[in-house]
Assembly symmetry: D4
């Protein structure tokens, strides 16, 4: 009953089925489990939610094989895919505190061969910050928007942009905003049409959805 290796089963055929491979979500796993997965991995692998404590608890060899970004808590094991041309995706944040979630999306896209433009701190309280970036955003095939608190930014963008808009509610805020449920509900109830969303703080999932769009011929 104590064999760690028997506790995970990599879904190696996933990329063949859906277009991109399985990532290792580290938040609920012990360093021993993460290390065992790293040691058994053959192909390049993306790790998410690898906080600095867990990263620091890996062996020196395991750490050496990782390209680690502490802000987004992501790591690449092995080389990412080659870039497929100029960025067709922008990742926008309402505030400075939403940047870690946005970077998780940027890094996931990069691991899978797609560049992305990061446009930070353009929330609606100072509308001019957003409007001066509008032409840039209108040219994008996909716009990922990370926003916490009241998450008004996706609604405003939804009325201005023709591309696919994937809103990521973040857990930024306090009081009724804490945890991101208020942001999530505001996005779901948006008066702007055709905005889609993912779980709170799920920058990885938003990037995977973007991959599904970008992969379409």
């Amino acid at each position: 009953m104590n064999d760690i290796a028997s506790e995970f089963v990599l879904d190696e055929a996933r990329a063949g089925r859906i277009g991109f491979g399985e990532a290792v979500f580290c938040a609920g796993k012990s360093p021993a489990q993460i290390g065992a997965i790293l040691d058994s991995a053959g192909a390049p692998m993306l790790l998410t939610r690898l906080d600095p404590e867990r990263h620091g608890a890996l062996t020196r060899e395991q750490q050496a094989q990782l390209d680690y970004d502490p802000v987004s808590r992501t790591a690449f094991s092995g080389a990412p895919a080659a870039l497929r041309g100029a960025a067709r995706t922008a990742v926008v944040t309402a505030g400075t505190s939403d940047v870690p979630v946005a970077r998780e999306a940027v890094r996931t896209l990069r691991f899978n061969g797609h560049d992305a433009a990061l446009v930070a701190d353009v929330g609606v309280a100072g509308l001019w910050r957003l409007l001066r970036r509008l032409e840039e955003l209108r040219a994008m095939q996909v716009v990922i928007v990370a926003a916490g608190m009241d998450a008004a930014l996706p609604s405003v963008l939804g009325g201005l942009l023709p591309g696919v808009i994937i809103a990521v509610p973040t857990s930024v805020g306090y009081g009724v905003a804490a945890g991101g449920q208020a942001a999530l509900n505001a996005i779901l109830a948006s008066c702007a049409p055709g905005i889609v969303t993912v779980n709170i703080d799920n920058g990885y999932g938003a990037a995977c959805a973007a991959l599904r769009v970008l992969g379409t011929p």
Copy 2:
């Protein structure tokens, strides 16, 4: 135990204490209770949440003494206060469905001697609708904003207007928006500073708060 008249106690000195009188909230009252209150009233009186069914169940005499507006479900018993000059308040709605709540605010202000401008259906999905009314709104001392669903409009206004902004979440919407809790939380969590709010659908309360502002010398 069955004496209806003993079941209500009008707070006749309220106007002297806080600047405006008590209104009769009809939603939880039987037509008999409402009628008894009307029959005992001396001074002019504002009735709120008087739905057409309850209004129709009043006696012909009682109906005749009322100036009734079915959209806002308000009634004036007796003459409203004389107007105190041009409108210093605007009542803005995000959508067409928020109009009944907005009208409750307009009627409450009117009963107390204040005119108000109604600016309807200027939600953020079509931002130009709002921007072309901006100068008009920037001149107002108080702006009441009725918005349901994601309630992004108050956040956008909060970054653009210098006046007092009182947001009223409405129960307009479905799914996670139903009941107005999503709109309320978005307003409370707004990234724009100094927006205040009241209970869901509470156009009356927003108008009372405006009266407290307008009454200041």
Copy 3:
């Protein structure tokens, strides 16, 4: 204050900005408001959440100008856009009771010139029903999945399909499922990567998101 025509402001330039026009959400509007909008409309228009009661309360002339579908509660005023080739979208339902939501999506796509395949009642309790349709679904650019109760179907599809997957939680179910919140949360928390979602019962929004994908060159 009683001028109905002043209570709505059509966002006529929306199609130019985002690729498809504004629809009229009828749920919170009175028949008089809906009628006034119909009478003022120039271009073709999609109406959603037009229940049979409100539809029946329109004038005979207004009803005559509508192509009305009571199951999806949608109506076309004027001719829909010409079809742009074979269906690149499938709309899948977990159960029979999810069909009205699915049809709202199908009709919205059709109004905007896109055909869609309806694949009903293929929930996971009888997995073979889904697996025999798998090849058909794998060929689609977009798959909209309407599912209530536990909404397990989107997770299963997310591991099998390469296209864009837009899950619509429905309010089908009772007890903890009533209202669709359990389905929504299951979709947001899905273990399958890159699934996006919209508000409960929002077939219209899912179709708009599909339009954003389909519109990309």
Copy 4:
């Protein structure tokens, strides 16, 4: 008022009434209380939710009398019951992070004389992982399924297996999944018939329910 021994009353006759004895739930108890219970115990005893901190705070003698498993946070005081033949129960997990809950169930069954097969990380995002274990699972009298996040696995199993299915929602996940409520609701709302459930993370309770089934002649 300070006599620790008077603060617990062992239900020694429980096994005679319901078929298995009382376990000591350590989460809310101080090390002093746990130690006092251990010192007063006559018969073998199962301890649950004994985290490493509390375990480490026991005396050396108390620790020595325990067979402790830190992953499941369970301990046996005294010898477990003799095994009653081959495993008639499987304990399945959707992901690697659900293993601690699953092991709590396995250990509870073992303490009461029943072996169980652990089948880990067979969630629905990679359906083939589950399908290749299907025959093994179909032969079991009881299948306990530990799943967090969207908990789609119990629904899929519910349509495939004839045995008793006891789903344990786990608190694995983040955002709307955090705490396990989304998993619990998905299980309760399952479209697959005859699935039963227990409290979040309650591997012990699921095993007790299995004991009630296995004990039937």
Copy 5:
């Protein structure tokens, strides 16, 4: 798009896979959909949540082929399975108002060939009512307990009975009890070990779980 027959796909092989067949859940279906399913059915079929209004909207021929019980809102289309001996299941209710849910369980068991004893109105406020039935209940292999409000009855039974206990929270009650969530949570949090539960008011699901137990050799 209007072909009703294409909107449902009977899972005809279910009994072969899991031991009992699919039932038709009528709550979310139109009378036309229910009628079409009845007309296409070959084997005997159980219908649940068929309220008197929907039942009355079926054709005379369809009504004639049904054995309908309005209290439980269940119907048998075709003959139920032959009885397999004396009752090994009891269905217990805390109050009189829980009887409809209990009867749904009794009818589901009966349709599948199992008799069940109904023991009504033995809630814990009058403990003697329960204690005088204790010997009868201790002899049962399965005890289904329908309880609303505080749902204390399953906890008391859990400490007294050795059989499988399946608690069904009901939506009986008002205030914090309304909807059954308080009863559900009390059952999940029960201090008595090994109690399992199902969705609120889900007498059908409890009976299906019982079938999984009874079917074990």
Copy 6:
């Protein structure tokens, strides 16, 4: 299975155990069930939540044996207990709409031989209404307070009165107040010490608690 009489079991010895008898809660019962209970009753009996529709559906004979009060929805079957002296209990309401709940308490006390003073519409928005009744209230052994919305009245009374204070949250209000949860939580979180509470709208339960106090020698 259709014998209505077997579906209820009166707890006839309750008065002997706890000091007052069982009442019949009619909200979840069919008129047939209520009628059967009335027909089988020997001793006087209190009925609660008997709405006018159910009352009207009883037979003429059954109606004739009842002293029915439609406001509180209570009925006495048989004579109430003789009065035991002057009122030692006051039932206070914050608003006019709380009167039905208050009357349920007054009637329950009266049925059991205790008179009570009803003090209506003394909410804190007009504090003088309360203060002029203060001496009367300070003399009472028990004060029941029915309050909805923000339920501030019990907190104010809790700092002023020495007697037992039983607060009953009511479902009066709209928006966040609807259903009474806001009132309930405000009472539970009260800054005034020693206030106790019961379920929302539970005037009957508050009166029963008062009986437990009044019954003490």
Copy 7:
């Protein structure tokens, strides 16, 4: 603005108004604030929620003037009131983990001159533990019941005891029980009549309510 002494205003006349004095709730206060209150106190004073960290941060002199009990986190500053005879109150707990809350009630009663009997760990899963203490409990004027998880104990006692029953939900438990909301709702929805309750873990409030009962002549 920095004068700590101006930040609290003792309600010195409270005992004269309601029969017992103000206690100092330490949970939200800094050690500096608590110390300043202690230094300014004239009469004896009860402190609640004084956790060992805050207690340890007081000066040596302040600690010396306190009779501190770490389990209940209460302290007496000055001598408690003289005892007023034998205990008329019992404080009962469902489990061992509920003891700290129960002790807070016992200590509050003791500070105010009332003895109380502590009856621990008599939850309903082993009903005999409760029944053998029944005669003792039936003789009490007030019974305080601290129970977490499903809180079934107050309901069982409510059908057996004639005295005043004050149930205190505790935050003991995990999953749906965590925080005590499930216990609170079960108590509020209890099928046993006349049980009252207070906030979660509020042993102090339950004791204050008991003081209101005991103080009645």
Copy 8:
């Protein structure tokens, strides 16, 4: 992607648009981000939610340029605006634990040139504490009220004062009060007219709303 300076965009024109400048909300920002903002700042700047840990992690130079108040967790970078005469605002607290929130409001007002009177610990449990300050409060143009738990104080003030009343729910309390949601809902549901509110613990937002009122000519 690692350029911190690109992650924030100061809204420098805000004061020109709405009357007061942008503050830096430090709770979600790293010390590096806060330091970079400080280093780039030209004009005086208000920092909020700067806890002592983050403050201590700034460089010595950065700390030296700040006027820091640890209780309110606010800092002034640069000189505050000159005072504009005597205080027209009072900031009232229900309890001692609400003082940090109240001070955040006082400091925000002071930074913007307005003095404010702090009136602490005047909750309704000891009503005389409030009543003796009444005349002082009635003279204020704006009264900010910070209250947790049941938040009854704003309702009482709402019936007594003519000025603008901005209630700030605080997260003070435990059990159902924890987090401040109970206080927030009580304020929103207040029976007193014209009270407005902001997010939980949002002393800053309340002060900004006061600035909007005070700024009106």
